[in-house]
Protein backbone atom coordinates (compact mmCIF):
# COMPACT_ATOMS: atom_id res chain seq x y z
CA UNK A 1 0.00 0.00 0.00
CA UNK A 2 1.08 3.55 -0.67
CA UNK A 3 1.42 5.86 2.28
CA UNK A 4 2.11 9.40 3.43
CA UNK A 5 4.15 10.65 6.37
CA UNK A 6 2.40 12.90 8.89
CA UNK A 7 4.27 14.97 11.47
CA UNK A 8 2.19 16.54 14.25
CA UNK A 9 4.25 19.57 15.25
CA UNK A 10 2.39 19.97 18.55
CA UNK A 11 3.18 16.48 19.78
CA UNK A 12 6.22 15.64 17.68
CA UNK A 13 4.59 12.35 16.73
CA UNK A 14 5.54 11.05 13.28
CA UNK A 15 3.07 8.65 11.67
CA UNK A 16 3.02 6.60 8.52
CA UNK A 17 -0.56 6.76 7.22
CA UNK A 18 -1.50 4.07 4.73
CA UNK A 19 -3.76 5.03 1.82
CA UNK A 20 -7.36 3.98 2.06
CA UNK A 21 -8.63 1.59 -0.58
CA UNK A 22 -10.20 4.54 -2.42
CA UNK A 23 -6.99 6.60 -2.31
CA UNK A 24 -5.01 3.58 -3.49
CA UNK A 25 -7.36 3.07 -6.42
CA UNK A 26 -6.98 6.73 -7.45
CA UNK A 27 -3.22 6.44 -7.08
CA UNK A 28 -3.02 3.27 -9.16
CA UNK A 29 -5.19 4.79 -11.89
CA UNK A 30 -2.99 7.89 -12.02
CA UNK A 31 0.17 5.79 -12.26
CA UNK A 32 -1.37 3.74 -15.08
CA UNK A 33 -2.42 6.90 -16.93
CA UNK A 34 1.07 8.36 -16.62
CA UNK A 35 2.65 5.15 -17.92
CA UNK A 36 0.29 5.17 -20.89
CA UNK A 37 1.02 8.83 -21.64
CA UNK A 38 4.76 8.18 -21.51
CA UNK A 39 4.42 5.18 -23.83
CA UNK A 40 2.40 7.22 -26.32
CA UNK A 41 4.97 10.03 -26.20
CA UNK A 42 7.83 7.59 -26.86
CA UNK A 43 5.94 6.00 -29.72
CA UNK A 44 5.21 9.41 -31.22
CA UNK A 45 8.86 10.39 -30.93
CA UNK A 46 9.96 7.19 -32.67
CA UNK A 47 7.41 7.81 -35.41
CA UNK A 48 8.69 11.34 -35.92
CA UNK A 49 12.31 10.18 -36.01
CA UNK A 50 11.61 7.51 -38.63
CA UNK A 51 9.54 9.85 -40.82
Amino acid sequence: MTHRIVVNVETGVVSQVEYTAEEQAVHDAAVAAQALAEAVAIQQQQTNESA
Partner: protein
Protein backbone atom coordinates in the same frame (compact mmCIF):
# COMPACT_ATOMS: atom_id res chain seq x y z
CA UNK B 1 11.12 44.55 37.83
CA UNK B 2 13.26 43.36 34.98
CA UNK B 3 12.67 40.12 33.11
CA UNK B 4 15.59 38.17 31.75
CA UNK B 5 15.09 35.95 28.72
CA UNK B 6 18.22 33.88 28.33
CA UNK B 7 17.03 31.40 25.72
CA UNK B 8 17.00 28.48 28.14
CA UNK B 9 13.22 28.06 27.83
CA UNK B 10 10.39 29.26 25.64
CA UNK B 11 8.30 32.26 26.67
CA UNK B 12 4.58 32.35 25.97
CA UNK B 13 2.75 35.65 25.53
CA UNK B 14 -0.96 36.37 25.97
CA UNK B 15 -2.07 35.33 22.50
CA UNK B 16 -0.49 31.92 23.01
CA UNK B 17 2.41 32.63 20.74
CA UNK B 18 5.80 31.34 21.76
CA UNK B 19 8.55 33.90 21.38
CA UNK B 20 11.46 32.77 19.30
CA UNK B 21 11.68 30.12 16.64
CA UNK B 22 10.25 26.64 17.17
CA UNK B 23 11.63 23.66 15.32
CA UNK B 24 9.42 20.89 14.06
CA UNK B 25 10.58 17.30 13.95
CA UNK B 26 13.01 16.44 11.18
CA UNK B 27 11.82 13.43 9.22
CA UNK B 28 13.41 11.26 6.59
CA UNK B 29 11.98 11.94 3.13
CA UNK B 30 12.67 8.40 2.06
CA UNK B 31 9.20 7.01 1.49
CA UNK B 32 5.63 7.98 0.81
CA UNK B 33 3.99 10.30 -1.67
CA UNK B 34 3.71 13.23 0.72
CA UNK B 35 4.98 14.51 4.04
CA UNK B 36 2.54 16.58 6.08
CA UNK B 37 3.36 18.88 8.98
CA UNK B 38 0.07 19.28 10.82
CA UNK B 39 -1.29 21.10 13.89
CA UNK B 40 0.74 24.23 13.15
CA UNK B 41 -0.37 26.79 15.76
CA UNK B 42 -2.73 29.58 14.71
CA UNK B 43 -0.36 32.33 15.89
CA UNK B 44 2.35 31.39 13.41
CA UNK B 45 3.38 34.17 11.03
CA UNK B 46 6.36 32.62 9.30
CA UNK B 47 7.35 29.09 8.37
CA UNK B 48 10.65 27.89 6.97
CA UNK B 49 10.58 24.59 5.10
CA UNK B 50 14.06 23.07 4.91
CA UNK B 51 15.25 20.42 2.44
CA UNK B 52 18.38 18.35 3.04
CA UNK B 53 19.07 16.09 0.08
CA UNK B 54 15.40 15.55 -0.81
CA UNK B 55 14.80 13.36 -3.85
CA UNK B 56 11.93 11.52 -5.49
CA UNK B 57 11.52 8.44 -7.63
CA UNK B 58 10.28 10.21 -10.75
CA UNK B 59 10.25 13.31 -12.90
CA UNK B 60 7.35 15.28 -11.43
CA UNK B 61 8.25 18.57 -9.76
CA UNK B 62 8.41 18.63 -5.98
CA UNK B 63 6.03 21.18 -4.47
CA UNK B 64 5.01 22.61 -1.11
CA UNK B 65 1.32 23.08 -0.42
CA UNK B 66 -0.38 24.69 2.56
CA UNK B 67 -3.85 24.40 3.98
CA UNK B 68 -6.47 25.34 6.53
CA UNK B 69 -8.28 22.19 7.63
CA UNK B 70 -7.32 20.50 4.37
CA UNK B 71 -4.53 20.95 1.87
CA UNK B 72 -5.12 23.56 -0.85
CA UNK B 73 -4.35 21.98 -4.24
CA UNK B 74 -5.03 24.81 -6.70
CA UNK B 75 -5.03 28.57 -7.07
CA UNK B 76 -1.42 29.24 -6.19
CA UNK B 77 0.04 32.32 -7.89
CA UNK B 78 3.49 30.89 -8.16
CA UNK B 79 6.41 30.30 -10.42
CA UNK B 80 9.79 28.64 -10.33
CA UNK B 81 12.93 29.23 -12.37
CA UNK B 82 16.23 27.47 -12.87
CA UNK B 83 19.70 28.63 -13.81
CA UNK B 84 22.90 26.64 -14.08
CA UNK B 85 26.55 27.03 -14.87
CA UNK B 86 26.02 26.72 -18.61
CA UNK B 87 23.44 29.51 -18.55
CA UNK B 88 20.54 27.17 -19.12
CA UNK B 89 17.41 28.80 -17.84
CA UNK B 90 13.82 27.69 -17.71
CA UNK B 91 10.74 28.76 -15.83
CA UNK B 92 7.32 27.36 -15.07
CA UNK B 93 4.07 28.67 -13.70
CA UNK B 94 2.71 25.96 -11.43
CA UNK B 95 -0.61 26.68 -9.73
CA UNK B 96 -0.99 23.47 -7.72
CA UNK B 97 1.56 24.54 -5.14
CA UNK B 98 4.90 26.22 -4.62
CA UNK B 99 7.10 24.06 -6.86
CA UNK B 100 10.80 23.74 -6.19
CA UNK B 101 11.78 22.96 -9.78
CA UNK B 102 10.35 23.82 -13.23
CA UNK B 103 8.28 21.30 -15.16
CA UNK B 104 10.29 18.78 -17.19
CA UNK B 105 13.55 19.23 -15.32
CA UNK B 106 13.31 16.88 -12.34
CA UNK B 107 14.68 13.36 -12.61
CA UNK B 108 15.05 10.49 -10.18
CA UNK B 109 18.69 11.54 -9.75
CA UNK B 110 17.84 15.07 -8.69
CA UNK B 111 18.60 16.02 -5.11
CA UNK B 112 17.30 19.21 -3.50
CA UNK B 113 19.09 21.26 -0.87
CA UNK B 114 17.72 24.58 0.35
CA UNK B 115 14.74 26.18 1.98
CA UNK B 116 11.44 27.91 1.32
CA UNK B 117 10.07 30.66 3.56
CA UNK B 118 6.33 31.25 3.89
CA UNK B 119 5.29 34.58 5.40
CA UNK B 120 1.83 35.66 6.50
CA UNK B 121 0.56 38.88 4.93
CA UNK B 122 -2.59 38.78 7.10
CA UNK B 123 -6.10 37.80 5.98
CA UNK B 124 -4.87 34.21 5.53
CA UNK B 125 -2.67 35.18 2.58
CA UNK B 126 0.81 33.72 2.46
CA UNK B 127 3.76 34.86 0.38
CA UNK B 128 6.66 32.58 -0.44
CA UNK B 129 10.25 32.71 -1.59
CA UNK B 130 12.80 29.96 -1.72
CA UNK B 131 16.04 28.77 -3.21
CA UNK B 132 17.29 25.27 -3.87
CA UNK B 133 20.33 23.72 -5.45
CA UNK B 134 21.14 20.44 -7.15
CA UNK B 135 24.89 20.54 -6.57
CA UNK B 136 25.92 17.82 -9.04
CA UNK B 137 24.79 19.99 -11.96
CA UNK B 138 25.10 23.32 -10.16
CA UNK B 139 21.45 23.91 -10.93
CA UNK B 140 19.91 26.63 -8.78
CA UNK B 141 16.13 26.89 -8.49
CA UNK B 142 14.21 29.95 -7.33
CA UNK B 143 10.56 29.92 -6.33
CA UNK B 144 8.22 32.79 -5.51
CA UNK B 145 4.51 33.25 -5.14
CA UNK B 146 1.54 33.79 -2.90
CA UNK B 147 -1.78 32.17 -2.13
CA UNK B 148 -4.87 32.97 -0.07
CA UNK B 149 -6.31 30.31 2.21
CA UNK B 150 -9.93 30.16 3.30
CA UNK B 151 -8.94 30.03 6.95
CA UNK B 152 -6.05 29.91 9.37
CA UNK B 153 -3.08 27.91 8.14
CA UNK B 154 -2.62 24.70 10.09
CA UNK B 155 -0.62 22.43 7.76
CA UNK B 156 2.20 22.26 5.26
CA UNK B 157 2.55 19.44 2.76
CA UNK B 158 5.56 18.35 0.74
CA UNK B 159 4.54 16.34 -2.31
CA UNK B 160 4.94 16.18 -6.08
CA UNK B 161 2.80 17.75 -8.77
CA UNK B 162 1.58 14.38 -10.02
CA UNK B 163 1.07 13.19 -6.45
CA UNK B 164 2.23 9.67 -7.24
CA UNK B 165 6.04 9.86 -7.30
CA UNK B 166 7.52 8.79 -3.99
CA UNK B 167 10.23 10.33 -1.87
CA UNK B 168 13.40 8.27 -1.76
CA UNK B 169 16.19 10.28 -0.11
CA UNK B 170 16.98 13.08 2.30
CA UNK B 171 15.21 14.74 5.17
CA UNK B 172 12.90 17.68 5.74
CA UNK B 173 11.93 19.85 8.66
CA UNK B 174 10.17 23.13 9.37
CA UNK B 175 10.77 26.07 11.66
CA UNK B 176 7.86 28.24 12.71
CA UNK B 177 7.57 31.55 14.53
CA UNK B 178 4.96 34.09 15.60
Amino acid sequence: MSTVIDGSASVTINSGAILGITSGTAVASTSGTSIDFTSIPSWVKRITVMFNGVSTSGTSSIQVQIGAGSVLTSGYNAGVGLINNSSFTTTSNISSGFATIPTGVNTAAYIHYGQMILSSMGSNTWAVSGNFIYPAALNIMMVAGAVALSGTLDRVRLTTVNGTDTFDAGSINILYEG
